[in-house]
């Protein structure tokens, strides 16, 4: 009797619950499994999807010319920086909607390759610079494979404010250890290598400077000493350069503090300052051996996307009519042979080509980046 009672009591509740589950969960069923036919359709849909960050070279005019010439529609996913592009590609691995990634640099590319995020294309790289060119830079040096194509480049190095680092108020450092002296206390701003690509490039430079292959002690000691000397470590380049650096255009920024007289930027940043400042700048790049790092930015076809579309866009991006404009549109060097920074307004004159840049191989980056970031983290966090 009791059993029957229980049965009759439970039955309607279970029925209601099952029906409710069926009705409410049906709309989610579309998300539960990847529909391959849909994904394949999206590959040839006449639309190229580009994941990138604020690459200034991708102007409206440039995009619409490509759309007219190729007949493809361009759709862009704009992220924060090169690191976000890599994060996005890893998080969305298997997403067949993205065709092209623009903005990964040679500090992030090895990780992208290791995670098998990119697919091969055969871009024409014959007209690219080599080490004999005017700038002395060879964009194919860090990577010359089919998974990524260089589209701009430049050296990362320390920039300083010449109005303060004048030998009287502050003396020009001749070694990185000079920056750990009390006179530099709280006056150097670094973008974090964890979240910023210039920050990461500078960390790599310091690894070479302190000869990481022998031991990591000096590298860690220097970063610990910098942290103890109240170095300003910011999450990104923008905050370091625009908010803290006293020598740059950040003075226009409402929140400009200007407490740092040295920061990490490009060796040609003073040239950019001069170009926009009627040939006048108080910023200069520091030419200290092995404290600069050659950075190349890449465009790469994303695995699972339409590599033909990606190939078309990459060829367009490295074509002379687009790539020669890199110094003006993107404030970076063009990768093409016979191209250099313009001489107008002192752009070229104020841009340093470092005498002895540091060098860390792609293989070493791929194998050690996680460990290096951890070592850097423990050095600046606990001083251990």
């Amino acid at each position: 009797m009791n059993q029957n009672k229980t049965k009759t009591k439970l039955k309607p509740s279970l029925k209601i619950l099952s029906l409710a589950l069926m009705i409410t969960l049906t709309p989610f069923s579309g998300c539960l499994s990847a529909d391959d036919s849909d994904s394949n359709d999206s590959l040839d849909d006449g639309e190229i999807v580009i994941v990138t960050y604020d690459v200034y070279a991708l102007t409206d005019e440039m995009i619409s010319t490509f759309e007219n010439d190729s007949g493809l529609a361009v759709r862009m996913l704009k992220l924060d920086d090169a690191g976000s592009v890599l994060d996005y590609l890893i998080q969305n691995k298997g997403n067949s909607n993205v065709d092209l990634a623009i903005g990964l640099d040679n500090t992030y590319l090895p990780t992208a390759i290791e995670f098998d995020l990119l697919t091969e294309i055969s871009a024409d790289k014959t007209m690219m610079q080599d080490s004999q060119s005017n700038s002395g830079m060879s964009p194919l040096d860090p990577y010359d494979g089919p998974l990524a194509t260089p589209f701009d480049m430049g050296y990362i190095c320390l920039n300083y404010d010449t109005s303060v680092v004048d030998g009287e108020n502050l003396s020009l450092p001749t070694s990185l250890w000079d920056l750990t002296e009390p006179e530099w206390n709280g006056k150097v701003a670094f973008p974090s290598p964890v979240s910023s690509s210039p920050g990461r490039a500078f960390m790599l430079a310091t690894l070479d400077y302190f000869d990481w292959s022998q031991n990591m002690t000096e590298f860690k000691d220097w970063w610990s000493a910098m942290a103890e000397n109240d170095a300003i470590i910011t999450s990104g380049w923008t905050e370091a350069y625009e908010t803290h650096y006293s020598g740059g255009y950040g003075v226009w920024n409402e929140g400009h503090v200007g407490d740092a007289h040295m920061t990490v930027s490009y060796c040609h940043s003073p040239g950019v300052e001069a170009f926009y400042g009627e040939n006048s700048t108080k910023s200069s790049a520091l030419d200290l051996p092995k404290t600069s790092f050659f950075q190349v930015e890449y465009a790469a076809a994303v695995r699972g996307g339409n590599s033909d579309y990606a190939h078309q866009f990459i060829q367009y991006l490295i074509s002379p009519e687009v790539n020669s404009k890199m110094p003006i549109e993107n404030l970076m060097y063009s990768v093409l042979a016979d191209e250099d920074l313009p001489t107008d307004n002192g752009y070229r004159y104020h841009s340093l080509i470092p005498g002895e840049p540091s060098s860390v191989s792609n293989d070493a980056i791929r194998e050690n980046m996680e460990t290096w970031l951890q070592e850097w983290n423990s050095a600046v966090t606990s001083g251990e």
Partner: protein, 556 residues
């Protein structure tokens, strides 16, 4: 409770559970797969990573300071509104409670304009940033003290104070404060203070823009979220997110529980009177009211003014000129940003999509709780607590749950499913609907329904002609609240929608403001978009004010 009602109730509970638990569970599973199950390690990772070191302290200290500052600012305003007579009182109350519904990104823009080079010019001094943040939180949350305390103050029978004056313990002003006002106001003050603490603790947009370089747990989680949950890559991010979520969840849960317990235990049952009987004229109140009105309006006016002020690149031409350049830039968009109309359509689309789901879902959930309270009180209470779960989860965690949870199911869905950001908005707004509808249902007089039933009125007619008209006010307020919250939502959208090209207005404001300041239109364009969002919110606020019963107290 008839079968149909039980069925609808069960549907809503299952849907709500699926919406809340599925993404969060998937996200936690993915994070734990990377980090391993070691809560102690998660929490320790916060002090061991540069990006998270000191963040917990900063979050707690600024939240406590902000709470104290809000009490100092908010209580006198609540007193002036509650105890003194004012002409146009409703207007003053609306202005003073307006900041609470203004999206925090707008507040950030307005406050930056005030402290910036063309305002009081203290922005160049980094030591002012922390205090600016604390005051901004006070601006944002002072409405809570007005909402919680003013109804009580305005209906307090003056006879009570007069009687107390005759007693030894009520002769001095101090003793009356100690023996009457403090015990009377304490539950409301504690409730308002707890909510202020919660909102300051989870502050994102204000922290991101005002104390640049410092993070709350919320903004830090949003920063590291893009690299969380990946095996073999930046694995510390997963530890950090789990540790931060755990701390945040515990602290928020305790705060909300504390507020609820104190409010219930110390609710004073005293004789009430009509406000016109309790209130008196006191012109000294102007010393509170006028600065308070200026304080409330200044950031909003600054946003609008800032949208027309364009910095001159050439110093010879003066600091700035006035013009529509910022508006033009915002409307046209550019290679970095979509035009303003895209942001408006996306934001409105998400807001209405959220409304479509959250209003019926929250209302039916409230009805289920209400029904259960009568037949199974414990289950009803449990469900009531369960609906509040998103309050203790941060918006960034909800965004992260939606993003990496859905990516785990199907990576393409995150890209193809336009409504994805709205899923986070539904998670965030549904609990508010329950909190608005439940008290309304509890106060709904069932006699109307029973009388109609006796008179033979059909159930559908009873619903359409009796129940819905009586519940119209709370439903309109819920709708407005959903729309306003969704339109201004920043934390979860920052995590979810920045990985898509469906940018919302708050994200568009953030993007423009983040543009290098070499562009003279960056600040005015962000202010222009903020002005548009502000007007949309203002319209919604005015609609809600028409339907709000001011004597109810509480947040809404």
């Amino acid at each position: 409770m008839n079968k149909l009602r039980r069925f609808i109730g069960t549907c809503s509970i299952v849907t709500y559970s699926a919406i809340i638990l599925v993404p969060i569970t998937l996200a936690i599973h993915r994070l734990v797969t990377v980090a391993g199950f070691n809560p102690e390690l998660w929490v320790n990772s916060l002090s061991q990573n540069f990006i998270s070191a000191g963040v917990t302290n900063f979050t707690i200290v600024q939240a406590i300071a902000s709470t104290i500052a809000t009490i100092v600012v908010g209580l006198p305003i609540a007193w002036a509104l509650g105890r003194y007579k004012w002409r146009r009182e409703a207007l003053y109350r609306s202005i003073l409670t307006l900041p609470f519904v203004i999206p925090s990104i707008i507040a950030a823009m307005g406050i930056l304009s005030i402290v910036g080079a063309h305002g009081i010019n203290i922005r160049t001094n980094e030591s002012t940033w922390w205090w600016t943040l604390v005051l901004s939180h006070a601006w944002f949350n002072m409405a809570l003290f007005i909402r919680f305390c003013e109804p009580l103050l305005s209906s307090m029978d003056p006879v009570l104070e007069e009687q107390l004056r005759l007693l030894p313990n009520g002769r001095t002003r101090l003793s009356r404060i100690k023996n009457l006002w403090l015990p009377l106001l304490m539950p409301s003050v504690v409730a308002a203070a707890s909510m202020t603490f919660v909102f300051s603790f989870t502050s994102f947009a204000l922290v991101k823009w005002i104390t640049v370089g410092n993070n709350t747990l919320e903004s830090m989680m949003a920063d590291v979220s893009s690299s969380a949950g990946i095996v073999g890559y930046m694995e510390s991010s997963s530890d950090i997110v789990l540790g931060a979520s755990m701390i945040q969840f515990s602290i928020l849960l305790v705060s909300l529980w504390l507020a609820s317990v104190i409010q219930h235990k110390h609710r004073a049952i005293l004789t009430h009177s009509r406000p016109d009987h309790s209130k008196r004229t006191n012109l000294y109140g102007l010393f509170i009211l006028i600065p308070a009105l200026l304080f409330a309006l200044a950031p909003l006016i600054s946003v609008l003014v800032g949208s027309f002020r364009i910095r001159n690149s050439d110093p010879m031409m003066g600091d700035f000129t006035w013009g529509f350049g910022g508006w033009q830039a915002a409307v046209n968009g550019g290679f970095s940003f979509p035009p303003l109309t895209d942001g408006i359509f996306n934001s409105l689309g998400y807001a209405f999509f959220t409304l479509l789901i959250a209003l019926p879902l929250g209302s039916t959930m409230a009805m289920s709780i209400y029904d259960l309270e009568k037949i199974k009180p414990r289950l009803g209470r449990l469900l009531d607590v369960f609906t509040m779960l998103p309050f203790a989860l941060s918006a960034a965690m909800i965004g992260l749950g939606v993003l990496i949870g859905i990516i785990k199911i199907n990576p393409s869905a995150a890209y193809q499913f336009w409504a994805l950001p709205a899923l986070a908005h539904i998670m965030l707004t549904t609990p508010f609907v329950v909190r608005i509808m439940l008290p309304a249902l509890r106060s709904y007089d069932r006699k109307f329904d029973e009388t109609a039933k006796v008179l033979g009125v059909k159930p559908i007619d009873r619903l359409l002609k009796i129940k819905l008209p009586l519940l119209k006010g709370p439903m309109v307020i819920s709708s407005v609240f959903i729309l306003a919250m969704s339109l201004g939502e920043f934390g979860a959208s920052f995590v979810v929608a920045r990985n898509t090209d469906w940018i919302t207005l708050p994200l568009l404001i953030d993007s423009w403001r983040g543009k290098p300041m070499k562009d003279p239109f960056a600040a005015p364009a962000s202010n222009a978009i903020a002005s548009v969002l502000m007007v949309m919110t203002l319209i919604l606020f005015m609609v809600a004010e028409k339907f709000r019963n001011n004597r109810e107290g509480g947040m809404f």
